[in-house]
Amino acid sequence: MSNTDNSPFQKGRDHGGGLDAAIMRYGGQRADWIDLSTGINPDPYPVTGLKTQDWTALPDMAAHQSLIRAARKLWAVPDAAAILPAPGASALIARLPLLGSGGRVQITTPTYNEHAAAFAAQGWEICNTGPADARVLVHPNNPDGRLWQATDATAPLTIIDESFCDITPKASLIAQVQNPGCVILKSFGKFWGLAGLRLGFAIAAPDVIDRLANMLGPWPVSGPALRIGAQALENAEWAAQTRARLAMDSMRLDQVMQSAGAALAGGTDLFRLYKVDAAAQWQDRLARKHIWSRIFPYSTTYIRLGMPPANGWARIEAAL
């Protein structure tokens, strides 16, 4: 562990991918690897229509409002609730614990680990069951795709992380935002496939949004992100086509994995969770063919795969 600690890349953020570590171990160039270790749409929203001023000028109010309008419409945000665009859902996740004043937070395992780390960093105690001063619901859950109910929003500070919910928009718990102390997170990078753009949203009561906005400071979101985000959120047709394509792809991935001996354990149309006899061996097998996957420290049998790009199917079928 210690030899990679000094690399600037490792400092502070070492996330789901670990692709760099995989490349060091198994060789090859980044460009020839297929990264299935995330749940990011491999077929991103096309990046067009950027103007020079998006890059050169500090983002103006109009660009900001245009994005918020698009978000409000797409996610059917109640009028009384406010929306905060941020540089990625992760920027919000790190700051949400500051909305409460410490205590216990209920985070049901297994789930996305960053929430626990953010709460622990502020001295909260993490527990699996209530009662608690805060609760995190990842909806749909990562890695098993579990969906929650409105009745699960039990704590004074309830965070509903809907990063992957654009796959199943009808399941959204957006109405919960009318309860004080409920914050909904949205992630642009997952469904729209532009993780590098760094764009996410918090939706909550206006006073909560004000506090979060103060934590982020002025102009948190880049001009290009405001522009592309607004365009993409308004494009309902692209979204419908994408959902259809991802639905087909996930069925196909299930077939490929099941005929190789894996059992489906859950997931969404952006990532599938499989149960295999030895996850580390499956990861190794795929990694030798330069396909990276996600396995978990709390399980020797779970392996999670994102959707492959259109040209990746042949390689995956061959690897298995």
Binding site: M1, G103, G130
Partner: protein, 308 residues
């Protein structure tokens, strides 16, 4: 069925099944119910003035409630008692959590940091490998005492009432036993009670760990480290574990954004540690559990010895 027999069965049940999710996602876990009681008392009493006295009353209220409930449950017979004890013991879940950190550290430093955040309440996001391992091993030692040895000890000494009393005080301490503005006065009684209840179990845990690792000759050094520890009790299992594994624990760490200069435990031992040391700590968790089980079975068999 004698208390020792019930305890032996409970230890085995807990080790085999842990805290099954299919059960606890449907029913409120007893620890949850206790937590609700503490929260309710906090909400209604931790206001205005005379908070220390109100805290004493709250703690007495919790204690008597726990003891009363224990007698009630005891009426249902030894099987229910065994189940109750098994539920309140936490060997398997402790092992799972600590092992997961070791597995995570093998995957990547990021995984390690995020996994250890589940069991320690501080900023893990910039920990290096050895710091993650230290945090996991410290948590293992402390929770071995709090979550396994202490509940078992109090059950043996005072039956279900003793066990429930320990758990409610321990829960109260974890929720209100803090030295901050809000809880300094109200939580005083719970915190001090928790200190008293852990006196023997913490030293007992340390003793068993030291005996198993041939470190009894270093008991003097263990005592010194334990006395210097920030907690009056947790230093014992931690110091013993540190010597058993030949690692240095505690040491300077980040709390609330500042670097606190905590003293090292077993300072001269290895500091560059990793997942293998976490594995060894997990092995020690099972070995202590086994010794505990052995002692309990021996006590259970005492009445069977022929009287002269």
């Amino acid at each position: 069925m004698s208390t020792a027999t019930v305890l032996a069965c409970a230890l085995l049940l807990d080790a085999a099944f842990g805290e099954p999710r299919w059960l606890w996602s449907r029913l409120p876990h007893p620890a949850v119910v206790m937590g609700r009681a503490v929260a309710a008392l906090d909400r209604h009493l931790n206001i205005a003035d005379m908070r220390r006295i109100k805290g004493v009353l709250a703690t007495l209220c919790l204690a008597s409630g726990a003891v009363g409930l224990a007698y009630l449950i005891g009426w249902f017979g030894p099987v229910v008692e065994t189940l109750c004890a098994a539920i309140l013991l936490a060997q398997r879940s402790l092992v799972q959590h600590v092992q997961a950190v070791g597995n995570a550290l093998r995957l990547s430093i990021g995984d390690g940091r995020r996994m250890v955040a589940w069991i320690v309440s501080r900023d893990c996001r910039e920990m290096n490998g050895p710091q993650v391992a230290r945090a996991a091993i410290e948590s293992a030692a402390e929770n071995l005492s709090d979550g396994v040895v202490a509940p078992a000890f109090w059950f043996l000494v005072a039956g279900l009432p003793g066990l429930l009393l320990y758990k409610v005080i321990n829960t109260a301490d974890s929720m209100i036993g803090y030295r901050n503005e809000k809880y300094q006065a109200f939580g005083w009684a719970a915190a001090r009670s928790d200190d008293v209840l852990n006196l023997i179990p913490a030293r007992l845990t340390g003793l068993i760990i030291a005996a198993l690792s041939n470190q009894l000759r270093n008991w003097g050094a263990i005592t010194l480290d334990a006395r210097a520890h920030r907690s009056p009790n947790a230093g014992w299992p931690e110091a013993a574990m540190a010597r058993a594994l030949n690692v240095a624990l505690a040491g300077p760490r980040r709390y609330d954004g500042t670097l606190q200069p905590l003293a090292w435990v077993n300072e001269t031992a290895r500091q560059d540690i990793g997942p293998d040391d976490i594995d060894k700590a997990v092995q020690m968790l099972w070995r202590v559990w086994a010794v505990g089980l052995g002692l309990v079975i021996a006590i259970a068999c005492l009445p069977l010895l022929p009287l002269t």
